[in-house]
Symmetry: C2
Subunit: 433 residues, 2 copies
């Protein structure tokens, strides 16, 4: 029996692309890959912007600067897109899928924006579209949702899906440092960009929540906005308050059922109980926690970024696509469940931690407490820190509606003795968030 | 297009079997299962010992007491074996596979003993053999090793794969209790059997290590013995010593490469650094930690036992088998790598914690230390606890060969001033164990 050959075209030779090509060309892995792919994998071309640039591990003869021709080529069976970007990447992927060429991509932004349409295009032409590396780097959570948990009724997904913010929060927790120096440390180590907005304000995590929700709950991937709160307002005192109360602050991407027909998707910092598995996810690691109706709690953990770890996830997809190609099958796109209604973030109830900088003068607590009361937010506990001009009040509420808490904070900002609003952080407790 | 029908026969209606049949017959899940299976799943029969016994959720008309006929029936496409046992289960599975019927089983003991031969039988007849539920209950680690990590060079697998022992050790850690009361508590809660030997002496974990190693390293499943040390010798003082040193004691099943061509598989308690993800696996939960050459560290966590969680894993396999059946493909059995040599446990080096009960008299330390020295085991630190007749010495060694440590302990047992040998526990530190 002759071994089938699967021809792979790669667009992009950055950290991920280079690592992937290195794995595909590694002679010591060849037999294992052939067994796993049920085919010999042949890299036919690697599209880059500058073919003159030396790229260790990639034979110059493989390089091309014509990504569009590679994507539309009849000489490939699987196209790997690891160049990133939206418009061009989309045109390459559409060109491949519409010819029945399977596509593997790490493009989180594009998948969050147009994933459903692209998957449908692939389905129409008998091609796979896999994107394991788009969420959680090396963590193989998407395939697990597609396969092992395909028959499970998932109740909730909570992910630490942004390594930058987890590194910053871990620094603040372990070093007791404030947000600014922790961010600077993350930038020094290459975990954060010069402009960290996409990470620290939760945009990156939001795209990953959309992708996780699409596989866990059957929502469509079509450029939606979800409620999003970042970590830049969190201070060392909040982290310390959490620690003393038995919690760790994490930026969570959450997708969960609300009642029988509701779905909430959102990104926000949360106080996670110190004995919760997510609390032990340190540094730049990622993790996804899934609660299934019958499986109970499950968690996946691993490196959320980096060339080699991300390339491992891409390679897993390439092997899957190759096997499917050899056996003449393609995996069905995710199923769309249109019955789930989006629940606005304001309608959700949670326990909240709220900290305020106030003038330390008589009557402050009374005026602040009356604001909480007016918005039906009941206070579970209060602590005052500091004396003189720099007093801080930390409140933990009873379970309250997010919209009532938002209104409380809006009014508190107008109270004269309130100097500034510090953090507002949801407290995760058992089954509630 | 008519929807294909996949006929499922189930042998066994204990906790797992009942939960599985409940899921397969659940009308509210029917559409989702049909999408995931690319077929309608029809339960044709459930084989039990006593058909007269009432089984809520299973229509009496489905019950049969003739498991052998069900296994050999031409009317099923997938056989689910969740009855357990060795001889009969094997005959049922062989009957099905040899007719080309795919098999899903939760039978860890049988798979550890004959997995390779059974997988080959299935392969010859175009049938799948899946057994996700055999390791880690709901944790979908086996499919991840077969698919997502099929192209990865795995360096090490470390699993907390026995919930009973993890519950006992967690109790000892959180309550400061000794082994006997923690075991009694586990028995009261139904986590431990009246005869706990299979769990606490590591037999159960050893079978799971064999299965994990077969998928991670290509070893054959053919009734091998591996080095095994249980937890019954661990005392509250050892747990407390570990805590003060920044460690948590866990029973680990380990399979790892040693050098270029060696493989070690073993079960033993270990001191795991408190910030290691495995240290945060509490109670009866299971977790598998995998170190890949390019993926870096990965971890899976979830319920290791229980009817519903285990049934979720079985259901994932049934869906996989159904999809394969519909598309006329079957998944290749695991690849066998005969080049890896088994490294005897004695040849491995580790840091060890060793505790001794000694007579508190002058010269004891000198005589004990000379035994360590004679066997080339160098001492990193020593602490003495207690006074009077009940002194205890706790040693932490430098990295030493296991066989030298074994010889040391053997000789220490003959030293007159040593009343008894307490625990001997490997200390995991960074990349070493």
């Amino acid at each position: 029996m002759t071994t089938p050959v699967i021809r792979v075209g790669v667009i992009g030779a950055g950290f991920v692309g280079s690592a992937l090509v290195g794995l595909l060309l590694d002679a010591s892995r060849r037999d294992a890959l052939e067994d796993a792919a049920t085919a010999a994998l042949e890299v036919v071309a690697v599209a880059v912007r500058d073919v003159a640039k030396s790229r260790p591990g990639i034979p110059p003869a493989l390089l091309t600067d014509d990504a569009a021709s590679l994507a539309a080529s009849a000489d490939i069976d699987v196209l790997v897109e690891v160049a990133g970007g939206l418009t061009l990447a989309r045109s390459y992927i559409e060109a491949a899928l519409s010819r029945g060429v399977s596509v593997v991509t790490a493009n989180k932004a594009l998948m969050a924006e147009r994933g459903t349409a692209l998957a449908r295009l692939g389905h129409e032409h008998g091609a796979d579209l896999f994107y394991e590396a788009a969420v959680g780097g090396a963590v193989p959570i998407l395939r697990a949702l597609r396969t092992s948990l395909a028959g499970e009724r998932i109740e909730r997904v909570m992910g630490i899906v942004n390594g930058t913010t987890n590194f910053i929060l871990s620094q603040m927790t372990s070093e007791g440092s404030d947000y600014a120096p922790a961010l600077a440390e993350a930038q020094t180590r290459g975990y954060a960009e010069a402009d960290p907005t996409a990470d620290v304000e939760g945009y990156d995590a939001a795209a990953k929540v959309l992708i996780l929700a699409s596989l866990a709950f059957g929502t469509e991937l079509r450029d939606e906005q979800i409620a999003r709160q970042g970590i830049s307002g969190i201070r060392a005192v909040d982290v310390e308050f959490a620690r003393r109360a038995g919690y760790v602050i994490k930026l969570l991407g959450v997708a969960e059922r609300v009642g029988e027909h509701g779905l909430s998707r959102r990104v926000h910092p949360a106080m996670v109980p110190a004995d919760h598995p997510l609390a032990a996810v340190h540094g730049a690691m990622n993790a996804v926690f899934v609660e299934g109706a019958t499986s109970g709690p499950l968690m996946w953990l691993g490196e959320g970024a980096g060339g080699a770890p991300t390339a491992t996830a891409v390679l897993g997809d390439v092997l899957d696509a190759a096997r499917n190609r050899v056996s003449g099958r393609h995996d069905v796109p995710f199923m769309v469940d249109d019955t789930l209604e989006r629940v606005p973030a304001g309608d959700l109830a949670s326990v909240f931690y709220i900290s305020l900088d106030v003038a330390d003068e008589p009557g402050v607590l009374a005026s602040v407490a009356s604001v909480f009361g007016r918005h039906r937010v009941s206070i579970q506990s209060m602590e005052q820190f500091g004396v003189g001009n720099e007093a801080r009040l930390s409140f933990v509420t009873h379970r309250a509606l997010t919209r009532d808490v938002d209104a409380t904070i809006e009014e508190l900002a107008t109270v004269e003795s309130v100097d500034s609003i510090g953090a507002c952080i949801r407290v995760i407790d058992g089954g509630n968030s």
